[in-house]
Symmetry: C2
Subunit: 752 residues, 2 copies
């Protein structure tokens, strides 16, 4: 069964198959709170307060509707009993999630929104009587607030506080750092009855048939020493024929009763809900229309225009949810700089505050993970470069930023420089970058801790970063730029030679040489003989000429392709090897151990395009999507990209794609389509057009706002070739800068 | 509805009301694994490996039975759907738990046993066809093994391993200390189908109606990267009229496949199950019959003869489950020494290994909690004294034991002495014991950290401990005993004076004086004006004469009594006070903050008896039990005593009694009945009889094995008074020692 369909007009995806391979996630968030919701609006809401996560809602949100005449009770947003609903679907939106159903003349709609600010979640439930006669109903809202902050049951209590007009929970612990220990759950009208204890609400029943809902009224129970709190409210209502009624809810956390009262009263209203709901649309407006593509591939259009932007936007605020990674944030910047330039700068400076004075960066912050991964500086030049090209803001190089482990404050340029100097001054006996705790491949985390192992991939990435660095040096007003550039280019040449000399093996680059002088990703190995990223990055870094690059990518096609995409390495490790690290302990086919790791797949798409292999690039993209016919059970959302698909070496669940949304793949896929396949790239002095479309595409359009100018770009295959600006052919492939506010029509004709 | 009934003959409690106020717990255990099971056989099984807990089974255990002709499917041990079972009950046993039901001609019985040794749980499921025709059935077993040791999903996998003939799960993590990462789940016959993935088993269904059980066959799914593993096996069976069939299961953890195979093959058999099941009875035999009472109160008989012994036995092996407390283990020893003398010695020496060289002890071990509680030495003399009196083993005083924080090895006597010296050398400006991190009352944990506050209760307990110490000194062969005794008695006198001078206030003893020179448990306080334990211990320590003691206890009756028992303090704190600590942050009426804390209640019963207040003692005991008519919703097990009942100051759930089994109350209640109400106490040179029965009891019997001699003791009220040994009246109230193996009849006649 099809999962559903894109409704781009409303910026929605409509899930019609409510029982797909796995639950489909949507994320709602503001800067401090996020909700991870599935098609039933189940899922956890958490706030991040002082860099600590504070769970707020535990997974379940249920509405129950009881017909007071027949006694029939059901949950319109979950339908545990699989009643014959007339309709049952989910509207996945940008900033909201709505589960709708229709059953026996009652249309219901349950919507969750995270408001623009604060530690709260808002809900709306609407019930419409589509029948001919009035209906007498009991309506129940139910969720599980998180109250037991530090686990000791004796500190918590819950009940109904008349002063607030809300279910109210407190947790008052001795020696507790968390200040947000009160929880309020309020409805837009006063419930006739309530429950706060999950054991009392469920009794010996189940979520499908809680004992409390089977009674005439909820028990109005206060509670203490509760393992699981609940918030349940009962409303009695009569709804006339063709009438509808809505209830509005807020659940949030605050520091005390006064603050709770104010927030509960403000947010549990129709007005606030509708304002915040509308606000989500406005927030999306701010970035959605900056880049609009129109290709022959509807999925690509929906993805690039709406959903990839949304997924990248999650990353730009929340990193990878579990924490904010130095390299992740910098890569995400290159993804969203074209549609949120202001935020890009802010995130850039924020990330650089987590750089060490050594030049390397902290792997993750909020919360901190400090492990000697070596690749952080690799990602700085490209992030700064893409920001300057997009914005024209050369001044960013002079912005002053502190270091994570020092009081020294230096310019962004010096941050870049320290990073590059770190990369070139931390090399091993083969003149390659020291591996230490790992690099992009987090899971090769025991290869180089003894300060001997060297990473070939890191060295290749350093070459690529050097290109970006030199591009900055040669195009921006920097003192002594030329000398710095010459010096680093000399070092780069030596490094390139070493990469080829020690890193290339017959037909591919190995991953590295570990502390035990063992070659990794080599024919010498029984497992993990070849890795994807060294090949794709060798192309991106121009280690070889075009012919050499093509040979590498041919080798990738021949050896790393599977039904679901391209494998990180082959064959997957099946034997734990402490000379490698975590990667070999992971199940075969999982994560870095030979999954189709989509982040790496998107590097491959870019590498393809850089070599003009548009058909390879496009076929690769098609394999990654939800409807890859060779991977019918990936389970992935049509509207999100997953971190990985399990590889064919997996013990089970081959092709399954968990961990959607939280992946750097989104930014790279977005760039792959817009900057490489469609080939529209910001440059210092204009917009470069250099497409690499698949041969099945005759034409495509892209609307691109750049430095305040709107460019309506059409890319076609034609007999004539060249770039036409407002109908006039110009030399080269770069659209010049125009005055802010203007609109220009661009045509790019390429070979048929 | 009554909960059920005691069946002492089978050492069982039969739960007939399967839906009581709260789930009723039973514990099964060996030295390394325990299961906490409710009436449905749901509950968690954990092992303790190298002092770390390793969860093994996560709560749920279900059997499903599907009639292949009608298609009807139900769970005989849970009955989610509340089908009209003909019978549904639970047999709570010593070392096993059985849930039985009968529905539409099928009798089923599901039993869980923890075998005598190892990290395993055994199960048996029996199905009997009581109808007239053969039945074709699918039978499914289902549970949730715990596989994700350190939380990272990528390390785990599950499937069916033909070599073992078992569902098999491994978790192979990088840098993982836990060696027991393999889990096997094997049945006595090969399943026709299986499932290992909970998401696949449940699908979008529920435990009541899993999708996989609705299909003809389980999906035979292997799995990786699973959030929740399951173990489900399907068996196809035809059972003739009046025939029955049983399946035997083992779930366990091992270090590798070889070990798993051996254990799985040995334990998933009828022979092993029946052997281990029988073994549980033999293990109970070893201690159950040592002390048997026959009073007019059937509940007391069942409790003392079977269930309190069982509850104390849990403590003797597992402490309080969450950890082993120094003071808890020592108190438990005084409880079980009369029926397991050998284990008492072993536990005594084990506990003393956790004493510091300072004389104080480590609050908790396995796992360690090190906080400066000051009362550990108070409990050493009484534990040693009761052990010597029971065993006659004076040699224990010369056993050598190390200290926790030192290489010094010293005799048990010197351990006692260091403890007593610690108590007397750590006193404050009023000459009372320094409070520091707290004492018995763990939750007054911020009263004395600044080394100024003094605890009156600790001082009283020190007086009591001194009496025990002096009794050892005066009765055992110890060098220089007389001088040591004289010296400490002098100190004791001074301490007593200080207790009265600074600790007594009008009509009661305060709890202490904190770091801020504030009196705690005083009329000066707005809340917590009076505490229970200082009064009861003042009686036990003989701080006042009989008249003074009675006045204290009268004051207790007048001020601390509520419907559920006697409150730890009144009124409960409602305002957090950092000058006190955790106690004032706990919800009012919970734990030390004014609950009916049964441990303290049992001190009160002993104090009553010491003053001859047998009626008060008995009425107090009656309030603590499950069928206290003034506390119908305590929820407590008839066969276990709870840590506390929430007090009348509680925000909600007043009288509710959670936390059964894991409490020192069991040992003290056992002693209160046998040693104080019935008054039969071991002494160095015989068995003392000094009963204090309630006036409603005319007579009672106690069979007591002491030093290898069986005493059949009858206590009656009569006109004549005195102690008769084998019909001959003797002087005093002490039964002399006899030759091992003999049986003697004792009669004790007391005032009518």
């Amino acid at each position: 069964m099809e999962i559903g369909y894109f409704c781009d007009k409303n910026r929605e995806y409509i899930i019609e198959n409510m029982h797909p391979v796995r639950p489909l996630k949507n994320y709602l968030w503001n800067d401090t709170t996020f909700a991870e919701l599935n098609q039933f609006c189940f899922g956890t809401t958490k706030s991040c307060i002082n860099k600590d996560f504070r769970p707020l809602v535990n997974d379940v949100r249920l509405i129950y509707v009881k017909d007071k005449e027949s006694g029939e009770t059901y949950s319109p947003n979950r339908n545990y009993a699989k009643l014959p609903f007339d309709s049952f679907r989910c509207r996945v939106g940008l900033g909201y999630q709505t589960t709708e159903s229709s059953y026996k003349g009652l249309e219901s709609s349950f919507t969750v929104v995270i408001p623009e600010h604060g530690y709260m979640e808002l809900q709306k439930f609407t019930l419409k009587n589509t029948g001919d006669t009035a209906r007498k109903l009991s309506v129940y809202s139910y969720l599980r607030p998180f109250v037991n902050i530090n686990g000791h049951l004796a500190y918590g209590k819950g009940g109904y506080e008349k002063g607030i007009g809300a279910l109210y929970y407190t947790f008052r612990a001795f020696r507790c750092d968390q200040k947000y220990t009160d929880v309020f759950y309020k409805a837009s009208e006063t419930p006739v009855a309530f429950s706060t204890s999950d054991s009392s609400f469920l009794g010996y029943g189940t979520l499908e048939k809680p004992e409390a809902v089977q009674a005439e009224f909820l028990p109005n129970d206060l509670t203490v020493f509760e393992e699981n709190y609940c918030g349940a409210m009962q409303f009695e209502v009569e709804i006339g024929a063709n009438e509808e009624k809505s209830w509005y809810f807020v659940i949030g956390t605050a520091q005390n009763e006064e603050e709770s009262t104010a927030l509960a009263n403000e947010y549990a209203t129709k007005e606030t809900f509708e304002r915040e709901y509308a606000r989500q649309g406005e927030l999306a407006d701010e970035y959605i229309d900056k880049v609009i593509v129109d290709t022959p591939d509807e999925y690509i259009n929906s993805s690039v225009n709406i959903w990839l932007k949304r997924q990248i936007a999650l990353g730009k605020t929340w990193g990878r949810i579990y924490g904010k990674g130095f390299r992740d944030l910098l890569q995400d910047i290159t993804g969203f700089v074209s549609f949120d330039c202001k935020r890009a700068k802010e995130r850039l400076l924020y990330t650089l505050r987590h750089q060490f004075i050594s030049g390397n960066g902290l792997r993750q912050f909020d919360p901190v993970v400090d492990y000697p991964y070596q690749d952080m500086p690799v990602w700085i030049p490209i992030a700064v470069l893409t920001y300057i090209k997009e914005s024209g803001d050369y001044g960013v190089l002079n912005e002053e930023v502190a270091y994570y482990d020092s009081d020294i404050i230096e310019t962004v340029f010096l941050h870049i420089k320290r990073g590059m100097d770190f990369l070139y001054s931390n090399q091993g006996v083969h003149g390659l970058g020291l591996w230490r705790g790992g690099d992009w491949n987090d899971s090769m985390n025991n290869c180089g801790l003894q300060e001997r192992g060297e990473s070939v991939w890191l060295s290749i990435a350093t070459v690529k970063a050097t290109d970006d660095y030199v591009e900055i040096l040669e195009n921006c007003p920097i003192a002594n730029a030329k000398a710095i550039a010459e010096e680093i280019k000399t070092k780069q040449s030596v490094l390139k030679e070493n990469i080829i000399k020690y890193g290339f093996e017959k037909d591919h680059f190995i991953y590295g040489i570990n502390d035990w002088d063992e070659r990794v990703g080599s024919y010498e190995n029984e497992e993990g003989k070849m890795y994807l990223n060294p090949q794709t990055w060798a192309v991106m870094a121009g280690i070889f000429d075009e012919k050499g690059g093509n040979a590498l990518m041919d080798h990738v096609e021949a050896n790393l392709k599977c039904d679901y995409g391209y494998l990180q390495n082959v064959p997957s490790y099946t034997k734990p090897d402490p000379h490698l690290g975590r990667i070999s302990y992971f199940g075969a086919g999982l994560y870095e151990n030979g999954s189709v790791y989509n982040h790496g797949v998107m590097f491959k798409v870019v590498a393809d395009c850089m070599l003009g292999r548009g058909n390879n690039a496009y076929e690769t993209l098609k394999m990654a999507r939800y409807n890859n016919p060779s991977n019918p059970n990936s389970g992935t959302e049509p509207y999100a990209i997953s971190n990985m698909c399990f590889g064919p070496y997996a013990y089970a669940r081959k092709g399954f794609a968990p961990c959607s949304w939280v992946t750097g793949s989104a930014g790279w896929m977005y760039r792959a389509v817009t900057e490489y396949i469609l080939g529209v790239q910001a440059d210092f002095d204009g917009l470069k057009v250099s497409p690499c479309m698949p041969s099945v595409w005759e034409a495509a359009r892209i609307e691109r706002t750049f430095r305040g100018v709107k460019y309506l770009i059409e890319i076609c295959r034609g007999d004539e070739q060249g770039l036409f600006v407002d109908g006039v052919k110009i030399e080269g492939n770069k659209i010049p800068l125009f005055a802010e506010g203007e609109t220009h029509e661009i045509e790019y004709l390429s070979k048929r």
